[in-house]
């Protein structure tokens, strides 16, 4: 066996952490979010991913306004076309422009992703924070409820909800949000619980801060980190559920396109015209990866152990 050393990145002798003395420039008042942004920017992949997501959002908003095609009109004179100058990504089995379909798919995925994420945050954080901050019986009751929600297979539940509520964008995002907030609730509770015990909350109480000031000024700013990180992973998660539903034929009603439906249809022509499935699959994969990288960057930025 050869030489080996164990990778360790601990401080040696716990010293070596003196203050860096370059704060003499007093004209710039530093803010917490400024510091976070500076740390986030250091991760180049995350930064590029963030720009990419901003670009995707812009595309989803502007795209449908300026595209020369729409997603409904079939063109039977132009079926299964390969990419060309007119149809950058070719056409599908109904002669519709693939680029148009993909951009609409993107729009729908983003709406469902952010919408479901918002629903999860609203329900999860409210329940988790209440349970964590007040504790006792309220905590017990709420957390048993969360336990049950957590144990249920959320995909099957959202599938059933879609069957009941109908198949449009809003019901789908609601169905996804309503069934997948349990993890967020646990996270929010754990965050609030751990921060509640930190000395600075006790210090705030000893200074006479009121409950609401404690929650909004001290607990929340320090608790949001993991919640935002989790959100940046849940948004692509919701997109996957949306596409998954479409894939098995329970997503947004056709002809409105969804990435899952595009993949499903494309899979039938994978031998003859693979671009029908490859383009949506690639855009989908890139979008989700971008969110994951942003989440990773956020996690590192919020990690207080990191110096800057």
């Amino acid at each position: 066996m050869g030489e080996f050393t164990i990778p360790v990145n601990k401080n040696i002798d716990s010293g070596g952490k003196p203050p860096s003395a370059e704060h003499s420039d007093k004209t710039t008042r530093r803010s917490y979010f400024g510091v976070l942004w500076r740390r986030f920017k250091r991760n180049k992949i995350s930064l590029i991913s963030l720009y990419f997501i901003v670009f995707l959002i812009a595309l989803a908003i502007v795209g449908p306004l300026i595209l020369p095609f729409d997603y409904k009109t079939m063109d039977y004179t132009a079926l299964y076309q390969k990419p060309s100058l007119k149809h950058w990504m070719g056409t599908d089995d109904g002669g519709r422009d693939m680029l148009t379909l993909i951009i609409y798919g993107l729009r729908n995925a983003l709406i469902v992703g952010f919408g479901a994420g918002l629903v999860e945050i609203l329900i999860g954080v409210t329940i988790g924070a209440l349970a964590g901050y007040f504790g006792g019986r309220l905590d017990n009751i709420l957390m048993r409820f969360v336990d049950i929600m957590f144990a249920l297979p959320s995909f099957l539940l959202s599938l059933m909800l879609v069957v009941v509520l109908g198949r449009n964008l809003f019901t789908i995002l609601l169905a996804i949000g309503l069934t997948s907030w349990a993890g967020m609730a646990r996270l929010a509770r754990a965050q609030v619980l751990s921060i509640k015990q930190v000395d600075y909350i006790e210090a705030a109480r000893s200074l006479g801060a009121s409950n609401s000031v404690i929650i909004f000024r001290y607990v929340l700013p320090n608790a949001v980190g993991p919640i935002f990180v989790s959100l940046s992973f849940n948004i692509p998660g919701a997109m996957m559920v949306e596409s998954g539903l479409s894939l098995i034929g329970l997503g947004i009603m056709p002809p409105m396109p969804s990435w899952g439906a595009l993949i499903n249809i494309g899979s039938r022509f994978i031998l003859s015209t693979p671009h029908l499935i490859l383009y949506p699959a690639i855009t989908f994969a890139l979008t989700i990866l971008a969110f994951t990288f942003v989440g990773d960057g956020l996690r590192d930025a919020f990690d207080a152990k990191q110096s800057d």
């Binding site: 080996f4 164990i6 990145n9 002798d13 070596g16």
Partner: protein
Amino acid sequence: MTNILDVQALKTEFRRKNTLIRAVNNISFTIKKGSVLSIVGESGSGKSVTMHSVLRLIPSTGKIVAEKINFMGRDLMRLTEKEMRKIRGDQISMIFQDPMSSLNPTIKIGRQISEVLLWHHKANPKEAKERTIRMLHEVGIASPIERYNQYPFEFSGGMRQRVMIAMALIGEPRLLIADEPTTSLDVTVQAQILALIKKMQEQNKMSVVLITHNLAVATMMADEMIVMYAGQIVEQATKAEFLNRASHPYTVALLGSTPKLNMKERLQSIPGQPPDLKNINLEGCPFVDRCSAKMERCSREEPPAVQLSPTHRIRCWLYT
């Protein structure tokens, strides 16, 4: 040959991103057979890194350079990692600061101690178990047979440190390195653990290096003393010389800032902050900014080693 360990010109550096941290900066010292050496210093003084370097137990970002590290006639710098492993735990062993985190939480206490014998092929499993139980008894753990099969979380802090001592001593090492062994313990337990280490040292006639930030603990245990500051040895002396003629301004100030019972005068405090190893002034004396006796040349020229007696050496311009 009376020295068990002879370290000459040891340097340990860590590279982190673009900064070079000189944790140990060119130090030399020896330890006599069967004696206790205390290394005292504040955080960042390099006292732990020094002894970790001797055992080559530093993170992979670190680099050790030394003229020689002679242990019982062998130069540790020339040993391969494999040969070095045969020395660790067997001939040189270590006790660490925090007994709560130094034991593997999922492995039985007995197993963790007997591993030393098994890894070094010094006993078969049955003998190892018997010797472990005897060792547990020797370090003052009641009902060692039951304790053998328990897990760390079933032990109090003091008991865990006894387990660590048993683990360090079962291989019958010639040199024991105790790295802040009592820092995380209550004072009453600290006294017990120190007494145990001293007892085992005398019984096994081994040498001990005690690393500590507590001057009082250091003097109570030591035959010889080393004071470190910013990776350098600023003063080394026998215990008697240290107690009677501590000479380096840092040593004197450190003695003055240690709270004692029945103090009549105020604590002497050393101004400023502990050194920043990232930007030490390599030109002059590292203590110059905090020194009350500094002279003009102190910040320009590196202080020389001054021999106050054959066994008492300091690095300071005051005594030239």
